[in-house]
């Protein structure tokens, strides 16, 4: 028996080393690609005057679609923030997805809405639309509110897409805060490309917990005081500035965050909009759009913008974080398995040869391997045959690599956008990065494994996302 475990030990340990080297290698390569891509972006865009688009009659038109479900705490402020975006030709479509709180009453009152009679084409089937509202006040002429039966976020987005009249659609989480120039900055890449279609673009999502927000605008950026949101700042910085930037350069981006993204409306309609049966509808849409363009033999790109354009509230409790992360895991698995045809399929270009396999091995399988590794170690420890030098060496290597990677991400942030201006905040982030692998990562791993389990038993629920709400948070700070 012991002999069997020794042979197994040899195979598993070597397997772990090989897999770890691959992961480390991919992270380092992505970090270099990101750095190169970011420098290029900053050099190219430092002196761009986005205001030329603001006054130009040539600027493309945009429908901003924001689904809302029980967002009564913040909805009025957030709509104000969307209406105050700097752009020439845009409309704001708020989709009330059958809220059971007082969201609709609050919006109707705050924006003086009235029910309008409207005929529009249901290109994508959605839940029943109860009514379309517009404001009597001309100052809110860009606002359209769709009140519908509850059907989930994807269904609400589809209702907004059906009703949208503009060339591009921008999807925004209504509880997120966009910077005023977000649409101008997001629209530019769509206009720059000459040899291929830009089908979607995404931006960096920044964390608004603890930031000062007045009338739907970020007025002061602050690093979150409590550990859980702060560690997510680090995580988001790493993912957005080091991961997605590189994937954009490699044209292998599989995900545009549901919090803020812009899409070519025609292509979204051609592929049938969001899939309402999934929990990871944002990722699946991008994969489907990319797959569609490849199958149509059209040159295309999904791009990513590193400017901090969108600020959102992240879970402040482990319970809510857990729900979010197991949903993200299920979402990833859905997209990977629905579109498994892409796996190492050269017909789909970088999507098939790099993007899909990378997500398969390093986003889906890596946590599973990690979990198996822990179970394996506990087993051999109980059997009294652990290879302690190997274990300690591996553990410390992984720890220092993870911390180094986080430090790089902080460096990227400080050298590029430098949103956290106080030295104390940067030092806090550096310390947080040292604590993350010990006090945060194990929970993320567990949530991930739970997501895998739920996926295989067929659970499709979103889980409740309780939010503090910016307006309320502001009050409690006073």
């Amino acid at each position: 028996m012991i002999e069997f475990f020794r042979s197994l030990q040899f195979i598993v340990e070597n397997g772990i080393i090989v897999f770890t080297i691959f992961i480390f290698g991919s992270y380092v390569a992505l970090a270099f690609f990101s750095a190169f891509s970011m420098l290029n972006y900053i050099r190219k865009n430092s002196f761009v005057d986005y205001k030329v688009l603001l006054s130009s009659p040539l600027a493309p038109s945009i429908s901003v679609i924001a689904p809302a479900f029980n967002e009564g705490k913040t909805i009025v402020d957030n709509i104000r923030s969307l209406l105050s975006l700097h752009y020439n030709d845009f409309e704001v479509i708020i989709v009330n997805d059958g809220s059971t709180d007082d969201s609709m009453e609050k919006i109707v009152k705050a924006y003086d809405l009235e029910l309008i009679d409207s005929v529009y084409e249901e290109k994508i089937t959605t839940q029943h639309i109860r009514g379309i509202y517009k404001s009597r006040n001309k100052a809110f002429g860009k606002l359209i509110v769709i009140d519908k039966d509850n059907g989930g976020k994807a269904d609400a987005l589809n209702a907004g897409i059906n009703f949208s009249q503009k060339e591009y659609i921008s999807v925004v989480d209504v509880d997120s805060v966009l910077v005023e120039d977000a649409l101008l900055i997001m629209a530019k890449p769509f206009l720059e490309e000459t040899d291929r279609d830009i089908i979607a673009s995404g931006g960096v999502i920044r964390i608004a917990n603890s930031c000062k927000i007045e009338e739907g605008k970020i007025t002061e950026v602050k690093l979150p005081g409590s550990f859980l949101p702060r560690v997510q700042v680090l995580e988001y910085t790493r993912a957005f500035l080091m991961g997605r930037m590189a994937w954009s350069k490699l044209n292998g981006l599989l995900l545009v965050s549901g919090a803020f993204g812009m899409f070519n409306r025609d292509i979204v309609l051609k592929v049938g909009g969001y899939n309402t049966t999934l929990v990871g509808e944002d990722m699946e849409l991008i994969v489907r759009m990319r797959r569609y363009m490849s199958e149509q033999k059209k040159k295309y790109k999904v791009i990513y913008i590193p400017d901090p354009l969108c600020w959102t509230e992240v879970p402040a409790s482990l319970k809510v974080l857990g729900r979010q992360r197991d949903r993200w895991t299920r979402g990833t698995m859905e997209s990977l398995f629905i579109h498994f045809k892409l796996f190492f399929n050269p017909k789909y270009g970088s999507l098939g040869t790099m993007g899909h396999p990378y997500w398969f091995f390093f986003e889906w399988l890596a946590p599973i391997f990690e979990f198996i590794g822990i179970i394996y170690f506990i087993t051999i420890a109980l059997l009294g045959i652990p290879n302690w030098p190997f274990f300690l060496l591996l553990l410390s290597t992984i720890y220092f690599f993870a911390v180094t990677l986080s430090h790089w991400a902080i460096l990227f942030e400080e050298l590029s956008f430098h949103r956290y201006r106080k030295k104390r905040e940067v030092i806090k982030m550096l310390f947080t990065s040292m604590l993350e692998p010990i006090f945060y990562h194990p929970f993320i791993l567990l949530f991930n494994i739970r997501g895998n389990f739920k996926y295989f038993i067929g659970e499709k629920t979103w889980g409740k996302m309780e939010r503090v709400g910016f307006a309320e948070e502001k009050k409690t700070r006073r």
């Binding site: 130009s56 309008i116 009679d117 084409e121 009249q165 000459t194 292509i267």
Partner: protein
């Protein structure tokens, strides 16, 4: 792009001469910046006609856009010739320019183009239905003729007369058309007073198609409000 903008700002004679030799695609972003520079520095270009014959389609599109933004009605004759251009992008922009120039003389050409794009669209849709049974893999080729047809109807809008009522009625009643196009045709019919409005009332009374009735009522209500 910076060099193009600098040239526009600094050249004393023919600031857009670089367009004559441009072989690369003039991006939308570059076009926005050049237009902004022309406006901001009040640079007057008498005519964009010379670039309407460029072999670079993006330069032709830019010239058409400038003709529409600066309302160069004297270029209408040359713009008309581009309506039937082989490049669909140029054709689309020529229609948009016609819309901006609001010249009633060219409605006949626009209607002819509409018919030709309808035939083109029908052939594409037929082909799509034949080759694909899966809705998800319907192609993209129908987008351009649809866009051109929509812009044609839009271009007829400001200059529509009694002579255009039957054309607009046909567009409004064609259930193969998108809602957006049908509603646009109804809106224009509504604006052709009194005959267009009368025709819509007749449709309301005598037509069995509930959808078109809803559309007409909706357009009427919106106009009243």
């Amino acid at each position: 792009m910076e060099s193009q903008v600098a040239m526009v700002k600094l050249a004393e004679d023919n600031p857009l001469s670089f367009l004559n030799d441009l072989t690369s695609v003039l991006s939308y972003w570059e076009q926005v910046n050049i237009h902004n520079t022309l406006l901001y520095h009040q640079i007057n270009i008498d005519s964009f006609d010379e670039w309407l014959n460029s072999s670079n389609a993006s330069v032709v599109v830019f010239a058409l856009r400038m003709i529409s933004l600066f309302k160069h009605t004297h270029s209408a004759g040359q713009v008309r010739e581009l309506l039937f251009n082989d490049n669909a992008g140029v054709s689309l922009e020529a229609v948009k320019t016609m819309h901006a120039l609001e010249l009633p003389d060219h409605v006949k050409d626009l209607k002819t183009l509409y018919e030709s794009e309808t035939l083109n669209l029908d052939a594409i849709v037929k082909e799509q239905r034949k080759s694909n049974t899966d809705r998800d893999i319907e192609g993209l080729d129908d987008l351009m003729p649809r866009r051109i047809r929509y812009e044609i109807v839009k271009a007829i809008g400001p200059v529509a007369s009694q002579n255009d009522i039957s054309f607009l009625e046909k567009v409004a009643q064609d259930f193969n058309n998108t809602f957006k196009l049908r509603i646009l045709a109804i809106q224009i019919l509504m604006s052709v007073k009194p005959h267009g409005e009368q025709r819509l009332n007749q449709i309301l009374e005598g037509n069995n198609d509930e959808l078109i009735k809803k559309m007409i009522i909706n357009v009427k209500q919106n106009q009243e409000s």
